[in-house]
């Protein structure tokens, strides 16, 4: 059983955020695609060091917000002015001013849904298991260690070359992670 196990990637451990950041810059400049960095806290500038572009999650919240606003307006117009018109306080049957507060709330609600579910979708979450969670030292990523992992699925991956590259970035502990 164990003999058929596949390799997930190669994991390098660092002791300081700066070391992880410099390593990320090196890996980015070599053109790797399937790799990631894990840190116990957000490190400012890491996005840039990893070459990560602006997140696309914003588009999901934008679409959610636009949907919420328009559906709110259409709903109130249809209910108050078409389906069951009642005169209240001498106001017009439908006015964008009166309808605005609920539409605004719907904009926020669906915008937030867009952000949440967009984030889960882009991250391919939820998932029940990840190969890294099996690795015994990886738990330190929530404590005081910084990890950089390059997946075997990356087109530029080669076991010896990648290990040498990570060694050159100053990592003292480099291990293979099994699937």
């Amino acid at each position: 059983m164990a003999t058929t196990s596949q390799k997930y990637g190669i994991l390098a451990e660092f002791e300081t955020p700066a070391a992880a950041m410099h390593a990320a810059e090196t890996v980015r400049d070599r053109g790797f695609r399937k790799w990631d960095v894990f840190t116990p806290f957000p490190v400012h500038g890491m996005d840039k060091a990893m070459g990560i572009k602006n997140s696309k999650v914003g588009w999901f919240s934008f679409l959610g917000g636009v949907t919420g606003y328009t559906s709110g307006m259409v709903m109130i117009w249809w209910m108050n002015a078409v389906d069951y018109p009642i005169i209240i306080g001498g106001k017009p049957m439908f006015s964008p001013f009166g309808a605005f507060p609920p539409c605004y709330e719907l904009t926020i609600l669906l915008g937030a849904f867009g952000a949440l579910f967009g984030m889960l979708f882009m991250n391919r979450l939820p998932r029940l298991h990840h190969p890294l969670l099996k690795h015994r030292r990886f738990a330190l990523a929530t404590h005081d260690r910084f990890f950089l992992v390059i997946e075997t699925a990356d087109p530029k991956y080669s076991e010896n070359e990648t290990r040498k590259l990570l060694e050159s970035t100053g990592s003292k502990r480099i291990e293979l992670v099994e699937e």
Binding site: F14, T16, G58
Partner: protein, 423 residues
């Protein structure tokens, strides 16, 4: 046109042809405004009030940005603090710009009064609204309010800049403590005086009207326009050199975030002021907006909805757009929009039939703007361009200065913290 926030900032622009612009503005604006005062005194008074309220925003916005910087103990805004301090110190100059308004209240004949309630006082024809607003709406109260406003603005803008400049020399922590103390008291005085200023100088044009949001409405528009101005000044000062070492991408991103926040905040306040009055539907309140839906004032209000809110809102939505050259024309647009907004509040009283841009509006804006530009440049040139010895200046410049204990502990563990472990 390249991004104003690039790390490789392009070479400085030759600004020497522009050196005489403030003087020219003062001369041309001053002559035209003086001519206008004799030609059509009433139009001149309203134009002057418009220009006054427009530029008062800049000083008040600068003051609150300095106060907020100290209250939040922010690191990023150390870079822009000196610029904001100089903007705040324009407020005492605005006290001199108040003179034509004061003269109008004191000496103008009833027909020439800016404020209809003063005309009523002078002709002894008080209406119910005015009688129930005594003793605030009397001439002595008008000047007491003005004195308290300008007095506290002078005190706080002057003291905050004094201790900031003091720290440039001494680097002492006591300066920061003093600035925090002035900021903590100042924020209360600021809120009360700004509200009184907006009520007495602008809202009192229609003294029958009620709106509890009017002060915060003026505040939102003022800070909105000031932040755009600060963005342009910072971008320009980075390109010309003085702020090159300290103004980073982060600085511009955070100013941009504030621009976005105040775009939404302004819309929120403006909408709910309208919405509450629309919903309650009481004639004592609705007449304010009824007047502003007649003639082409309706289209001015549409311009405010779409130009003051939707255009900047949609443009500022993207995270990365706050770092592009697009912000410069948008700042010009923000000045125009704030001017339109102030006109929308002031001018329907004089021109209920519709909006028209009077040449005296521009003359007064040119004159006051020229004076303020000259004073700003004078104080900017006399002092260092950013706080030199602020305790957070290293943090602002993204330089990490490790505390001594940490260095010792790290050395004991065999970590070279400076090179970040890359041996």
């Amino acid at each position: 046109m390249s991004s104003p926030t690039n790390s490789n900032t392009p070479a400085p622009i030759d600004l020497s042809p522009w050196r005489r612009v403030p003087t020219l503005l003062i001369a041309i604006g001053g002559v035209l405004a003086a001519f206008g005062a004799f030609h059509d005194y009433k139009q001149f008074s309203y134009s002057w009030l418009l220009a006054f309220m427009f530029f008062l925003s800049l000083g008040l916005g600068g003051l609150i940005l300095v106060i907020l910087h100290h209250l939040f103990d922010a690191a990023w805004s150390v870079v822009i603090r000196r610029v904001c301090e100089h903007l705040a110190c324009l407020l005492p100059i605005m006290a001199f710009m108040f003179i034509p308004i004061a003269l109008n209240v004191l000496f103008a004949s009833p027909e020439m009064q800016i404020y209809p309630w003063i005309k009523m006082l002078k002709t002894h024809e008080m209406d119910h609204a005015l009688a129930s607003k005594q003793p605030l709406f009397t001439v002595p109260s008008f000047f007491i309010v003005a004195a308290i406003c300008f007095g506290s603005w002078w005190l706080f803008s002057n003291r905050l800049r004094y201790w900031s400049l003091q720290q440039d020399v001494t680097g002492a922590a006591v300066c920061t403590r003093m600035m925090r103390r002035y900021a903590a008291f100042g924020v209360f005085f600021f809120a009360i005086t700004l509200t009184f200023a907006a009520i007495m100088w602008m809202k009192a044009l229609q003294h029958e009207w009620f709106s509890t949001m009017y002060g915060v409405y003026y505040f939102a528009g003022s800070v909105w326009m000031t932040i755009f101005t600060v963005y342009v000044l910072t971008a320009l000062l980075k390109r010309q050199g003085p702020l090159r070492p300290v103004a980073t991408e982060k600085t511009f991103y955070f100013i941009g975030t504030l621009m976005f926040a105040f775009t939404v905040f302004y819309a929120y306040i403006t909408f709910f002021q309208y919405f509450i009055i629309w919903n309650a539907n009481v004639p004592e309140e609705t007449f304010f907006y009824v007047l502003r839906e007649r003639g082409n004032w309706f289209w001015v209000s549409m311009l405010i909805i779409f130009g003051h809110f939707f255009l900047p809102f949609l443009l500022l939505l993207r995270i990365d757009v706050k770092l592009t050259w697009l912000m410069i024309p948008l700042a010009v647009w923000a000045w125009i929009m704030h001017f339109v907004d102030m006109s929308f509040n002031i001018m329907p009283v004089l021109h209920p039939e519709g909006y028209h841009l009077d040449w005296m509006d521009l003359a007064c804006v040119a004159f006051i703007g020229g004076v303020l530009a000259k004073m700003f440049l004078k104080s900017f040139n006399a002092h260092p361009p950013f706080p030199q010895k602020d305790p957070r200046i290293a943090e602002t410049m993204d330089v990490y200065v490790a505390p001594d204990e940490f260095v010792q502990a790290a050395t004991a563990r065999g970590i070279n913290h400076k090179s970040g472990g890359s041996h």
